[in-house]
């Protein structure tokens, strides 16, 4: 039975590979055009109304939830998956506490941007500011990014010297610590009560906001997906550079990489920090869209969900992890009747994928470098050895 599944899987994988190969074989301008069409489609998704595809919408069922809202969640999770992919997929570090960075990003905008936060109130009292004063959204974005980045470095500095599996357990602890601290430090985070009135691009949530309003979520989705595309572009730059090669080398064989002149600690720390920053930024988007956060939203289960997104999708491959993120965020929303079984399904998916197809649904394949005419040149040159 299992052999049969494996066989089927192999055939499917072969077909997929040939799709990938064919895609790579396309001329540049065609790839560009298809990519543009794809991006246009992504932006069009919240309006999805193509006959035959409307059943995809989560609001097409009774008891379903807002379609653009679900898309927003998918986009945020894709951002998380891309960030975590840098850590797990590229650098090969298992981070089980990624929710911690997500929470730090979310709390950064909540603490500095919301008039309800004790931190903002403290600033108001200390510097005689008006009671409506709070840090602007755009500056909060920067604060969130930097705070997450710094926390990544602070966590990574002592722990990245540890062996891989110790790292997993220490990061798991870190994720829990962030949540517990957020819950216990009532004087700073309002503890379990949570913080409301977290600002968006147009300031705190209010029915008067023209674009980023309370009811229509489409602009939020467009904002998130724009951030995702920007980050994909940025991570892509890193992936295809000296940094990306160093990460992969460390992932594949840390000792060999060190002997080849790669300083593993430095690049691992970078991977950790970049992953943390992306996770923090995702948390920032999450908090400003929902305008309310409390510590229960940063449960350790989410860390495991994030890891599941990356490994089920195909660790190391941005397309793969994005597909994983979308699937794991979307399916429970679309099939809400069985939402209670989601954790069972996630667990099963993780086990089955790892046993049958450890490289994930869409495995990573390094982009062949554009060798221009060099390959031909090499063939001409006699292999004189």
């Amino acid at each position: 039975m299992i052999d049969k599944i494996r066989d089927l899987d192999r055939r499917r994988a072969g077909a997929l590979h040939s799709v990938g190969d064919r895609w790579r074989a396309l001329p540049k301008w065609q790839r560009g055009l298809t990519f543009v069409a794809f991006v246009a489609f992504i932006y069009y998704l919240p309006l999805l109304g193509i006959p035959g595809l409307t059943w995809l919408r989560t609001d097409s069922i009774s008891g379903g939830s807002n379609w653009a809202g679900v898309l927003f969640t998918c986009a945020v999770y894709v951002l998380v998956a891309i960030g975590l992919n840098v850590v797990i997929g590229l650098a090969g570090l298992l981070d089980l506490g990624y929710i911690g960075f997500f929470a730090i990003g979310a709390y950064a905008v909540a603490l500095f941007g919301s008039v309800n936060s004790p931190v903002v109130k403290w600033f108001q009292a200390e510097f005689d500011l008006p009671p409506t004063w709070a840090v602007t959204w755009a500056i909060c974005a920067f604060i969130a990014l930097v705070m997450a980045l710094i926390s990544g470095v602070i966590l990574g500095w002592p722990t990245l010297r540890l062996r891989g599996d110790y790292l997993a357990i220490v990061t798991l602890g870190f994720g829990e610590i962030i949540r517990i601290v957020a819950r216990n430090m009532e004087g700073v985070t309002r503890g379990p009560q949570g913080i409301s009135a977290i600002p968006g691009p147009e300031g705190p949530p209010s029915p008067d906001n023209q674009i980023f309003g309370l009811i229509d979520i489409k602009p939020w989705y467009w904002l998130a997906i724009t951030v995702v595309l920007l980050m994909v572009f940025a991570v892509r730059r890193l992936e295809n550079s000296r940094v990306g090669r160093s990460w992969l080398a460390i992932r594949e064989d840390e000792d060999a990489a060190a002997v080849m002149g790669v300083y593993p600690f430095k690049f691992k720390l970078w991977a950790f920090a970049i992953g943390a920053a992306l996770g923090g930024f995702a948390g920032f988007l999450f908090a400003s869209r929902y305008a309310f956060i409390d510590p229960t939203q940063f449960n350790v289960n989410l860390s495991i969900l994030f890891v599941a997104m990356v490994v089920v999708g195909g660790s190391g491959n941005m397309v793969g992890v994005s597909v994983g993120a979308v699937l794991l965020a979307y399916l429970p929303e679309r099939f809400r009747e069985i939402a209670d079984y989601r954790w069972l399904a996630f667990g099963l998916a993780m086990v089955l994928v790892m046993i049958l197809r450890p490289q994930g649904l869409i495995p990573s394949k390094r982009r062949a470098r554009e060798l221009k005419d060099r390959a031909a040149e090499a063939e001409e040159a006699p292999a004189h050895v």
Binding site: S241, R242, R245, A257, V259, L371
Partner: protein, 312 residues
């Protein structure tokens, strides 16, 4: 680009005893694991420009010796000096930058990366671009004439575009990232051609045939621009014809000015290519000298007793 390639260092005929400088000195190195003595007061030196063979039966401590030299293990006592500088206590990547590189007995490539990228990891070690550089590309370098974008189109909008790009690069320079990336790729490609596996540059390392993998490891090690290249049983599993090719390759590496330290089982291969041989047994040095001297040494013969000289 690299000073070695432009710098023909004395690859003279080895039979003449040229008083060359010591490149690497291993000074009374002892290494213990718990109660086991892996290396016992080993001392020898490698002279610039030679090919030194390091031989000995299984478990004699040859690979351990490599690991001490490349910083994987720290010796219990004693020191390793490279061009007069202490190597012991430094981290592997620092030692690599000093100019020692190696291959592994059981091939340790980066299997998911292409052959070219494997070599580029090596060449990267001489470059500087890190995360900010690769991300924002703000560090600009004035490019040389041949590095500027070329204007090739004969006319129309394409030509204008190319002219704009060229002008832009002339005025603002090119990012160091781009230049390094190009240099790394060129250098890596050149090395792949040098070891003779350029035809499969874009294949993942794990998909390469065995012989290619061995040679890819050598290319990767050369990518770090070493002054000393340590080869750990590079001919293991090779047939005689392949071994012959390998011999040629080792000589050509030496001719490029790279000193070679060779661990090898195959006596004939070692005899054929080395200038000098060091023999280890049970963690101690038992002989050190020219191949023909060593092969007559009774202790060496005893150590190798029962092992035919051409055992693979």
């Amino acid at each position: 680009m690299s000073d070695e390639t432009n710098n023909p260092v004395a690859p003279k005929i080895p039979t003449q005893p040229v008083p060359a400088k010591n490149l690497l000195e291993i000074d009374d190195v002892t290494l213990r694991f718990g109660g086991v003595v892996a290396l016992n007061g080993i001392s020898f030196e490698i002279k610039e420009g030679e090919i030194l063979g390091l031989i000995g039966p299984n478990g004699a401590g040859k690979t351990t010796c490599f690991n001490v030299m490349t910083g994987v293990y720290k010796p219990t006592s004693g020191a390793v000096r490279f061009r007069g500088e202490r190597v012991t206590g430094r981290k592997p990547h620092q030692i690599s930058r000093l100019g020692i590189s190696r291959t592994f007995q059981n091939i340790r490539l980066f299997p998911e990366m292409s052959a070219l990228e494997n070599v580029m990891v090596g060449t990267d070690s001489r470059h500087k671009t890190s995360v900010p550089g690769a991300l924002f590309r703000l560090y600009r370098v004035r490019p040389k004439e041949e590095e500027l974008p070329q204007v090739t189109a004969s006319g129309g909008i394409v030509r204008t575009w190319q002219q704009v790009r060229r002008g832009f690069a002339k005025t603002f320079g090119l990012s160091r990232h781009i230049l390094e990336e190009r240099a790394a790729e060129d250098k890596a490609m050149e090395l792949l051609r040098f070891v003779g596996i350029a035809d499969r540059a874009n294949d993942e390392a794990r998909n390469l045939p065995y012989g290619y993998q061995r040679r890819l490891e050598i290319a990767r090690a050369l990518g770090t621009e070493p002054k000393l290249l340590c080869l750990d049983e590079p001919a293991a599993g090779f047939n005689p014809a392949e071994k012959e090719e390998l011999l040629g390759l080792i000589r050509r590496i030496r001719d490029k000015g790279v000193t070679v330290l060779l661990i090898e089982h195959d006596m004939r291969l070692v005899m054929g290519v080395t200038d000098r041989i060091v023999v280890l047994e049970f963690g101690s040095k038992i002989a050190d000298g020219r191949p023909e001297e060593v092969s007559r040494d009774p202790r060496v013969i005893a150590a190798y007793l029962g092992e035919p000289a051409d055992a693979a």
